[in-house]
Symmetry: C2
DNA sequence: GTCGTTGCAAAGATTTTGCATTACC
DNA sequence: GGTAATGCAAAATCTTTGCAACGAC
């Protein structure tokens, strides 16, 4: 049986308020504004459980710590700017992924990450 | 000026021989068959340089250590089987990725990872 | 009051770095 | 022989775990 602690609530709220996926360290920083004594272990423990429960989705980019975002955001993908290194959500999705698969493979989900320059960093 | 050491050669050969992306630990194990005294630090140092030089591509899957594969394999993506956890290369690529981007964003590259069941694990 | 949850600090795991030694060129 | 590269071990990260104290229900 799970309990509603102020720590867990602060963590959830930080993730929901954020406009982009957050790393554990970023979550800690944000949630500490509500719960100053919060420890990093608690962040990791809550992240892990929320991922297991399906409330949170991991966003893994090459050479970067895992980030997390709330599951309720609807289907979308990510764009990482080479220059400012921020990660943006992008809408839309190519339809033809199933055609990439060899015979007999069954597609359940997919992830797409785009790389380049964002509006701000583009000349 | 870079030198051709037996260690570096063993690392390169391990990656080229493999039919799938390898993790640093897997590279160490494979390369030690040729160079028994090989140390893990050397593996990391060589991986890093080879990635910087563009000879090697990192393959990052959620919740897994980074794996690496030779750059010369041509454009392709990856499929990870939920059941046997193997990672397969898949050919082909949807064409319409540029249309997903917001105005002013410039696309340079992309990665697609598919998840599901492989031929073997599919009923 | 019970017991899930927390904070802290220690332990693991993974990757990087300092430094003396080795071995390409 | 000069110096890039290596191996080892220590350090720096990042994540998990043990345990006593806390607090939700």
């Amino acid at each position: 049986m799970t309990r509603n602690t102020s720590q867990r609530e602060a963590i959830q709220q930080s993730l929901e308020t954020a406009v982009r996926p957050l790393s554990p360290e970023e979550i800690l920083e944000a949630a500490r504004e509500q719960v100053p004594g919060l420890g990093i272990a608690t962040v990791y423990r809550n992240i892990r459980r929320m991922v297991e429960e399906g409330q949170l989705h991991p966003v893994q980019l090459p050479d970067e710590p895992a980030r997390y975002e709330p599951a309720g955001k609807g289907h979308h993908h990510h764009f990482r700017c080479r220059k400012c290194e921020r990660v943006f959500d992008v809408e839309g999705c190519p339809g033809s992924l199933k055609e990439m698969l060899p015979e007999g493979f069954q597609l359940e989900s997919h992830e797409i990450t785009l790389f380049g320059l964002c509006k701000h960093c583009h000349p």
